[in-house]
Amino acid sequence: MDFRDTPEEAAFRAEVRAWLEANGQKRTRPDEVFGEGLDDAAKLAAAKAWQAKKAAAGYAAITWPKAAGGRGGTAMQQVIYQQEEAAYLVPGMIFEVSIGMGLPTVMTWAAPELKARFLRPGLAGEEIWCQLFSEPGAGSDTGGVRTRAVRDGDDWIINGQKVWTSGAHFCDYGILLTRSDWDKPKQEGLTMFIVDMKAPGVEVRPIHQMSGDAEFNEVFFTDVRIPDSYRLGPECGGWKVMLSTLMQERLSVGGNLPTDLHAHLVALAQQCAWDERPAIEDDRVRARIADAYLQQKGVELVIARGLTAISKGKAPGPEMAITKLIAAKAMQDIAAFAIELAGPEGLLGFEALGGDWRYMQRLWLGAPGARIAGGTDEILKNVIAERVLGLPGEIRSDRKVPFRDLESA
């Protein structure tokens, strides 16, 4: 048992650290984010510039084969890079879908000329990708998509609506799950495409979240034409393609929780008075600080177990689902408790109160989404029950019936 790097890992870490120091900009506040103060266009341009630099240095897709523009490195090297990058102001989520889902799917399923066309510009951040699976009637139940793909000569014509598409408003291409055959059962009539997000008939509308942010979009397709050469995988093979896309996420080791949450609670509790004494002296407050640590450090340690697997060349298993399950709810509870510390002053929007409070209020407004996006608590518990504990799957009545006959269709 040893938390230290192997000599090879240490060498790679040193190399990464040197490169980041030379090229990146360190965070100065815990809640500082990339591109603060820039408008959207400038922020996007800055992000693309960073990604180009990162790709040129061979850090954009460490585990990809060299032939595809990657580094041919190990998953552990990827993790080390991410750990080191975490201290820097980098454009977070913008390229995550490109590198993590879109391009790997292209790599696996597209014809050589498409790979040549898309991989390098995607890696360098010149083109950004999104993922178009979820629909208003097909969220947790992705197999229920109803966006229609109809063959028309060498093209397909797409009509329908997607939802919860991160970054659709600035993306160039997307991987699109459609239903091309309504007579087959649910998961057997699906086909996957590459779609040009700037094509005529594609309309993107932001979804405003309760936090006031708009990270997600609805995307509407009206008679959008896609050449058959942009099809990924066989006709009606979309389910399998989608699973391969999601498999790419397996190396990601689950949810996480800011490492400093309990320290923030300590700081806030020292500023608040409960019954004329500092709240930090209340045994209940102290207990909550301890519990916050148990959850935060626990998630960190579960991830360390996943990294151990990666370090040994294995993939972390479905048990990593517990990290998101613990993290998202803990974030909600800790943030709510932080607000409660202030009593009636907790009524204030924390713009009025400053740093730590604003941070907690952001977490509090973001937590309901964090518990849902990427798998609800309920879906994650099913994953643990079925894939870790081996309990039976839910009773399904919709598996063998032609999709058009399903009541919900």
Partner: protein, 362 residues
């Protein structure tokens, strides 16, 4: 044994519910949420006109004189419909303080104005928890100077009752030297402002012990707010139930999944626990029973818990749509927190409940 409201009280509740269903719509609430209105004017107008807001103000002071039980049911409906109105500030807090500590002249002057809606009032009666050191606020017997805490409805109030030490001080906000500083609110449907005074004329409420009156008024408010919380929690539970019957996934109504059924059963249980404690608090409040401090604290803790759980899990059970701005789920999420903090958090009230129980056991 009759642990329920009377038919007359229920009739009033039905009338208020019908009115609120028509006027306190999502759209009306969102006018305030998005800053286009300071409060839901039509709702406020109707609550006043029906005499529903002023049920607990005696007739000789311009109220309906129907007592606290009726007001509890009005509160439940206000909570259910997310009413964006100064009901708590004006009626649970300010009017109550004046009624309990005011001189006859003070009561005759102010209560009819509050009851008729001519004046919106607000109050800061002290709390066991605070973040910043209390702002300096000095009362010299005739004028007030300094800054108040953040006050709900401070932006539209014409009158405030402020606790300064053991005094309760009444200050007219149209007086000289008053300025208002709007503050951002975690629940923008209930806006906040702090008041700044510069030698503003003010007077002491006549009653002897301001601290004791404040404590008594806060107990009553805890009960009334518990009804708002129970109403709000019931609303989000019903919305969640209805959505779960409508929405399908995996070929089934999502409400047929046992995980969802059981979570809704747990929310229901939390709400019913809160409801009976709120009822018990209503009984103690209306009968001026010595059990009030214990009953009020219990109602507050249980109701804060219930609304918090209902709002958090209500969003969760809606899935993705639940955290969009367009759905009303987040209005409950915000309101639950607002109501849970407005007179001190559940932790302060749980400590108070424990104090009472330990005192009784001695």
């Amino acid at each position: 044994m009759n642990f329920d409201f009377s038919d007359d009280q229920r009739l009033l509740q039905d009338a208020v519910r019908t009115m609120l269903a028509e006027t306190s719509t999502s759209q009306a609430v969102r006018e305030v949420l998005e800053g286009r209105a300071s409060h839901a004017e039509a709702v406020w107008h109707n609550l006043i006109e029906m005499g529903a807001a002023a049920t607990a103000i005696p007739e000789q002071y311009g109220g309906a004189g129907l007592g606290y039980l009726a007001l509890c049911l009005v509160a439940e409906e206000a909570g259910r419909h997310l009413a964006a109105v100064p009901l708590a500030s004006s009626f649970y807090l300010a009017a109550e303080a004046i009624q309990r500590a005011g001189s006859e002249a003070q009561k005759q002057h102010w209560l009819p104005k509050i009851a008729s809606g001519e004046v919106v009032a607000t109050a800061a009666l002290g709390s066991r928890e605070r973040y910043r050191p209390a702002a300096p606020l000095a009362f010299d017997g005739q004028t007030l100077t300094g800054t108040s805490p953040a006050l709900v409805d401070g932006g539209i109030a014409g009158l405030a009752v402020l606790r300064i030490g053991d005094d309760l001080v009444l200050v007219e906000l149209s007086g000289t030297g008053v300025s208002r500083n709007p503050l951002p609110s975690l629940d923008p449907t209930r806006p906040l402002a702090e008041l700044r005074f510069d030698r503003t004329p003010a007077e002491r409420l006549a009653g002897a012990n301001g601290a004791a009156v404040a404590s008594r008024v806060l107990d009553g408010a805890a009960v009334l707010l518990a009804f708002e919380q129970v109403g709000g929690a019931t609303c989000i539970l019903e919305a969640t139930r209805d959505y779960s019957l409508e929405r399908k996934a995996f070929g089934r109504q999502i409400g047929s999944f046992q995980a969802m059924k059981h979570k809704m059963a747990e929310i229901y249980t939390a709400i019913e626990l809160a409801r009976v404690h709120a009822y018990y608090g209503a009984w103690a409040l209306s009968s001026d029973a010595p059990e009030l401090p214990r009953a009020a604290a219990a109602a507050r803790v249980a109701a804060t818990r219930a609304y918090t759980v209902a709002a958090e899990e209500g969003i969760e059970l809606h899935g993705g749509i639940g955290f969009t701005w367009e759905m009303d789920c987040h209005l409950h999420y915000r309101r639950a927190r607002h109501l849970g903090q407005i007179i001190g958090s559940e932790h302060a009230w749980r400590a108070r409940l424990a104090d009472e129980l330990i005192k009784e056991a001695a």
